[in-house]
Each structure stands twice: as C-alpha cells, then as structure tokens.
Subunit: 313 residues, 2 copies
C-alpha cells in the first residue's frame, strides 16, 4: 500500500445526462486526479449503477483503498440512480446534510447522495434544482447575494442570512440550443457562438432595446433571420447574435421580476465557458461581479457531506 | 376536347418546404379539383421545377388544355424556384400585381409568381412575409383591421385604407415545435396538443398571469416541467399546456406592443386547425372575431393575378 492511502481523499462525482466525471480531491478541495467517461447516467440500466462506478474507479481504489464518494445533481433524480428528496427553501447546508443518504457499494466503497432543493413559493408550481444547491454552498452562504448559475435551465438564487432563500429557473440554455440546432437558423448558421464577437454584443443590445417597436422575445428572435435576409448578419454571426439576445433577455426578465437593479453586485457560478458569457452580459446590464470559485461544486459537496473543512469563502 | 376546356380555370399552387399542393379553381374561386404531392420544393433540383410541375399537372392539362398557374409563398424564396422581390408596405393588390412575374413552361403552361412583402419600418431589420400577403388580399383589404396569420412564423398585420399597412413576425410556432420535439418535454410528453383540453386553457391562463411572481416567458416555460414533477400536469397534458402558454404569450406580447386592446375585433386567417386554436386564445384575451374565409390564399392569388373577379368579402 502506498503512502497515498494515508491522505484523506474524497471522490466528488458528477454523473449527468451527458457524461460521468469523477474528481478525486483532498479535504481542502485540491484536485488529486480526475476521470471522465462519456456515458450518460440514463444509458446505464437501473441496478447497474453501482457496478459501473466500482469499475470506473478501480484504479483509485487500488491506490487509496475503499473510496468515499459524494454525488449531487441528476444522479439523484427520477431518471438517475436513486430518487433523492428536495429540501424546501429556505435551506442551510445542515438541512441538506440531514437529507443526504449514504449507501454501501459492492467493493466496499461508500456513496453519499445529496438532495436537491425546491422553492415552494414559486408560482404556479414549486421550482426545483439538483446540483446547483451544492454549487451555492460551495460558493458560500455567508454573504447576502443574488447568484446566477448558467446552464440548460439557468437558476437565479437569493442567498440571505446563511440560507438559500429562494430561486427561479429560466430555460435560457434550452431555448438557445433547440433554436440553434433545430430551427430556421440551423440550416443557415455556420459558426458556433462566440461571446467575444461583435454579434454577441449586438444580440445583448437588441435584448436591451426598451421601446415596444422591438416587440417581445417572440418577435426579437426573428430578427436573427431578417438581419440575415437584409445582409446585416453573416451566417457565422447568427448563433452569437442569438446567444447574446437570449441571455440578454434572461437578464431583462430577471430585472423586471426584481432580481437586480443596475449597479448591484451579483455572482455568476459555474465551471464552464458560460460563466464568462454570463459575466459579459451582466456587465452590459450595469452589474458588478463578485468573485466566485470555479470549483464551487467540489467545495459544496465536501462541505455538505462534512468530508472536508472547506469553508465558505 | 371536353366541355371542361371552355371553363376558365386557374391552378393556384402552394409549394413549400413540406409539400406540393395544387388547387384547380374557377374564376369565382370554387374548387374543381386538387392534387397533393409530399415533395418539398427544396428536394427538387434547381432547373427541374418546371418539369416537375408539368408532370404533376399532366392530367389537368389533358382535360383543360394548357394551364394558367399562380404561385405565392416559399416557391418564390431564395431556396425555392426563383427568388421574387419583396414589395414594401404600405402595399396594395395593384402593387403586388406589378411585381409579379409570368414565365412559360415546357408544355405550354404559364406560371405567375407573386412577390412577398417587406415592412421596412420594423426594428431592427425589415420584416418579411411570403404567402401571407396573398391570404391578406384574399381576406380583403377594404376594412381597417388587425389580422393574425398563425404559423411557424406567425404574422400580425394591420390592414388600413386598402393597404397592408404594417406587420410583425412572432416565432411562436417555431418555439412550440422545437420545445415539443427537442426539449426536456420531448421524452416525457405523450400526447399531441389539444386545444379543447383544460390544459390548453391553463396554459393560456399562465400566460395571462400579470404579477411578476410568474416571471417572464423563460421562467413560465419551466412550469410545464415543474407542474409534471409536482404531479399537477399529466404527461398527456404537457404539450397542450405548452401550446396554450406560448400562443397566449404571443397575445401578451402583441397587446404590450399595441396590436390590440380588450374588446377589439380582429380576424384570424389560415387554412388549418391553428385558426380555431388562435381563435380560442383570442377570445380568452377579450377579443371579438371577424369572420374569415378558409380559402383566403386562393381568393388572394386570383385577385392579385387578376384571374378571377373574386372580390374582397
């Protein structure tokens, strides 16, 4: 047995619809190793998840002994491994810990599933998140702040008094990708979105146009096509323009519903390129940005499961 | 030669992205015969359109002699047979007739392509229609009225003083179909939309909710999912709910932009089940409906091409 076995390590597992990603981390959150498998959780049959995980992590077990795994997100959904409950807002890390569940695995590993969060005050139905609550805890709940978590179903969440106070979902990423891939645009547009392109900024500006001459979202979306027909938008600018418009529109709706005012400080939390995309839109709306760690999901998983002393920043 | 040859008949051709439909009509607009071929215009190579039409209409030519064909819509678009110009608003039937173009076909037939219409006052780019202008003329331009033409890219048009005065596009149908077929809904929803279902009315009601607690469109769309998670929406109700919400939202945006006020009379013009779907939403928004013919496209084609004395109703 190597010396490595004496380091307390935890596996933070992110297994969603598109792939399996495991991070082996120390109790301070620092990364030791990482594994990715392109295998969505729904492609593994019910009852086979444990064996899949045991096999995928075999080399780590050989080096570090039986593993301590923490998992949040879609893995705990109806279509995942086991269906975990939703903890209602206002929710603290202790509330989330109390709803977690630890199971033994065939090779002696342990896996702790973290719950999701529901906001029962949302209209007309309770809103839901799975995974973002862990990112919020990893970001830290000690400062009252509005936090945006970009994604297919982007979340705007309010942190207040050490709680996840409330949140709402915007289907921004879903609208963007379905239109980019399956609409009037998909046969014409050539390049992927580029948030550094002028077309992205023009999309934001169209979202920000306040006079009714621009119409609502359903009309503004058509401007990506009419701009192309008018020769004002090139094929390789169309997706950038669409992306700026749709994310910009998310901010318009959020502002209308009281999530922010110009001059406020918010945080954008995530681990992919959408963080910088959203940060750019936020600045265009006169927002200041609080710093946020890219590894909030890992910090949150350790904090909720009490596997590490990772403090809220 | 049969007596049929002495009746003056016209072929009104609707050849779009999904199929080819030809109506043989008398000068009063009454239908003599009809042919449908499931062959989108883009599946026929450039230069082959004339031969395809000549062959598809051979039996009519044998009975009625060389044919007089009138075509509007996508057939005259960049990806169609020939690219026809857009006539700017305000546009009259005479303006449209002046921009039409008649070509000879191999077997001695003649085909008249009608132009589209552009609204150069639209922001940020000129808006465009192809085919709907012909429906508007067929509906009649003698009454000042707001006319809604449902579809993938629905149009709201103002008729004023005998002109098509202005119009705007809403991508309602595109948002509905891309979400219904390619989103979080597509794997869960089981039944197609049913505008007679309570879920459709509930979708309209959600669009009409005026307090900011309901959020904007990007948030309200997620309620189709959260309602299912909460057990409040069944799988077979999801598409009806989505449809009511999205078309309802089109009316919210149209009202915000000044297209109507409660109590106004508008017309819904089209030839498929969307007419009744839109009529139901219009009534929910307090609108009265002017009667409209289901064959507005045929009436308009005859009127613009001066092939028949079909008067505006």
């Amino acid at each position: 047995m190597s010396n490595a076995a004496f380091e307390p390590v935890t596996v933070v597992l992110d297994w969603g619809t598109t792939g399996f990603r495991a991070c082996l981390v120390r109790s301070d959150g620092s990364l030791v190793d990482q594994k990715e498998v392109e295998r969505g959780i729904q492609t593994v049959a019910k009852g086979e998840h444990g064996r899949f995980v045991s096999e995928a992590l075999a080399s780590w077990r050989a080096e570090y002994g039986t593993l301590d795994i923490v998992a949040a997100g879609m893995i705990g959904s109806r279509n995942g491994w086991i269906e975990m409950p939703y903890v209602p807002t206002p929710a603290t890390p202790a509330d989330l810990a109390a709803a977690a569940r630890t199971d033994g695995l065939p090779e002696g590993d342990r896996i702790t599933f973290l719950p999701g969060v529901t906001d029962p005050t949302a209209f007309p139905f309770p809103d839901v998140m799975r995974g973002e609550e862990t990112q919020l805890v990893g970001f830290g709940l000690d400062r009252d702040m509005i936090v945006v978590l970009p994604g297919t179903h982007a979340k705007w969440a309010e942190i207040r008094g050490g709680h996840i106070e409330r949140f709402r979902t915007f289907v921004t990423g879903e609208i963007y990708s379905t239109l980019a891939d399956h609409s009037f645009l998909s046969k014409v547009a050539t390049a992927e979105r580029d948030h550094a392109a002028p077309a992205f900024a023009e999309g934001i500006a169209l979202a920000q146009e306040e006079s009714t001459r621009a119409g609502g979202l359903l009309t503004r979306l058509f401007a990506v096509r009419t701009g192309w027909l008018a020769g004002a938008i090139a094929r390789d600018e169309m997706k950038s323009r669409l992306c700026g418009l749709i994310i910009g529109w998310e901010f318009v709706e959020a502002r209308t519903c009281g999530w922010f005012e110009e001059g406020d400080t918010i945080a954008v939390v995530g681990d992919d390129d959408l963080v910088e995309v959203y940060a750019r839109v936020a600045r265009a709306f006169g927002l200041k940005l609080a710093p946020a760690p890219a590894d909030a999901a890992i910090r949150g998983a350790l904090r909720i499961s009490r596997r590490g002393p990772v403090a809220a920043k």
